[in-house]
C-alpha cells in the first residue's frame, strides 16, 4: 500500500497511451484487477517487484523507466536530452 511519506512516481498512464492500451487490457496482460492498475497509476499502491517486472516486460522498457522516486520529466524532453535532437526529428 502507498505510504504517506514515501512517493513513487510512474509513467504507466503515458506508456499505456502510447500503446493505446486500456487499464483493462494492461490488467489482463499481467494478471491483476484493472482497479489495481488505476491505484498504481495514482500512487495509491506500490506494486511488488514481480508486478513491476511484468509491467516492464509488457511495455518493453526497463523498470526505472516506469517507476522513479523523482518526478518524471516529459518523454519528449528526455529523448531530446538523450539524443540531442527534438522528438520526431532524431534518427537517420
Amino acid at each position: 500500500m502507498g505510504s504517506t511519506d514515501v512517493r513513487l512516481f510512474n509513467r504507466i498512464a503515458v506508456l499505456r497511451a502510447e500503446r493505446s492500451l486500456s487499464r483493462q487490457a494492461v490488467a489482463e496482460a499481467i494478471g491483476v484487477n484493472y482497479q489495481t492498475i488505476g491505484y498504481i497509476e495514482r500512487g495509491d499502491y506500490f506494486p511488488s517487484l514481480d508486478l513491476a517486472f511484468k509491467l516492464s516486460e509488457l511495455f518493453g522498457v526497463p523498470i526505472e523507466m516506469i517507476f522513479s522516486r523523482q518526478p518524471f520529466e516529459p518523454m519528449s524532453t528526455a529523448q531530446l536530452r538523450l539524443n540531442g535532437t527534438p522528438a520526431g526529428k532524431g534518427g537517420s
Binding site: M1, A13, R16, A17, S20, S22, R23, Q24, G31, V32, N33, Y34, Q35, T36, I37, G38, Y39, E41, R42, D44, Y45, P47, S48, D50, L51
Partner: protein
C-alpha cells in the same frame, strides 16, 4: 464495479461507501435498543442492517478467495495485501474487546439475559464483518475504466 449502487450509495466513491458501514453498525445498534422495548420494532433496523451488510459483502467479495468453481476470481496481490491488513487490524480490535469483556466478567459485572444476547450478537457481527467493514471504509475511490485516463 463502477456502476454498482447499494441503498442508493455509489460504492465507487469512498465517502459514500463509508455511509454503508456507518448504516450497518448504526442500524445494528438501533436494532438492539428497539428489541429491548418491542421485538417488532427491531425488524426494520435489522432489515436495513442486513441490506447494508449485503452491500459491504458485495463490495469486498473480490478480496476474499472464491472457493466455488463457478466463480474462480482470485484476489490479486494488492487485494490480498489489503485483505491481510484488514484481517490483522480486526484481530487486534477483537482481541482488545475480548480482553475487555473478560475483565468485565472478572469484575462480576451482572448483565440481564437480553443484554448478554445483545453482546453475543454484537460480538458475532463484529468478528464476522469487521475485516470487510475496514476494507470498505479504507479503500480509495475506485479508478474509472476509461481506456486512456
Amino acid at each position: 464495479m463502477n456502476n454498482i449502487r447499494i441503498l442508493g450509495i455509489a460504492v465507487v466513491n469512498r465517502a459514500q461507501r463509508r455511509c454503508l458501514v456507518a448504516v450497518m453498525y448504526a442500524s445494528f445498534l438501533v436494532t438492539g435498543i428497539a428489541y429491548t422495548h418491542y421485538w417488532w420494532l427491531a425488524l426494520l433496523p435489522a432489515l436495513i442492517c442486513c441490506l447494508a451488510y449485503g452491500g459491504v459483502y458485495k463490495f469486498t467479495r473480490r478480496y476474499v478467495i472464491q472457493t466455488s468453481r463457478r466463480d474462480s476470481v482470485q484476489p490479486d496481490e494488492r487485494e490480498a495485501s489489503v485483505r491481510d491488513h484488514a484481517m490483522a487490524r480486526s484481530y487486534l480490535v477483537v482481541s482488545f474487546l475480548f480482553l475487555l469483556f473478560t475483565g468485565l466478567m472478572v469484575q462480576h459485572v451482572r448483565l440481564t439475559d437480553g443484554e448478554w444476547n445483545y453482546v453475543f450478537w454484537g460480538v458475532m457481527l463484529l468478528t464476522s464483518t469487521l475485516p470487510q467493514a475496514l476494507i470498505t471504509w479504507n479503500e480509495p475511490d475506485i479508478p474509472k475504466t476509461e481506456p486512456l485516463t
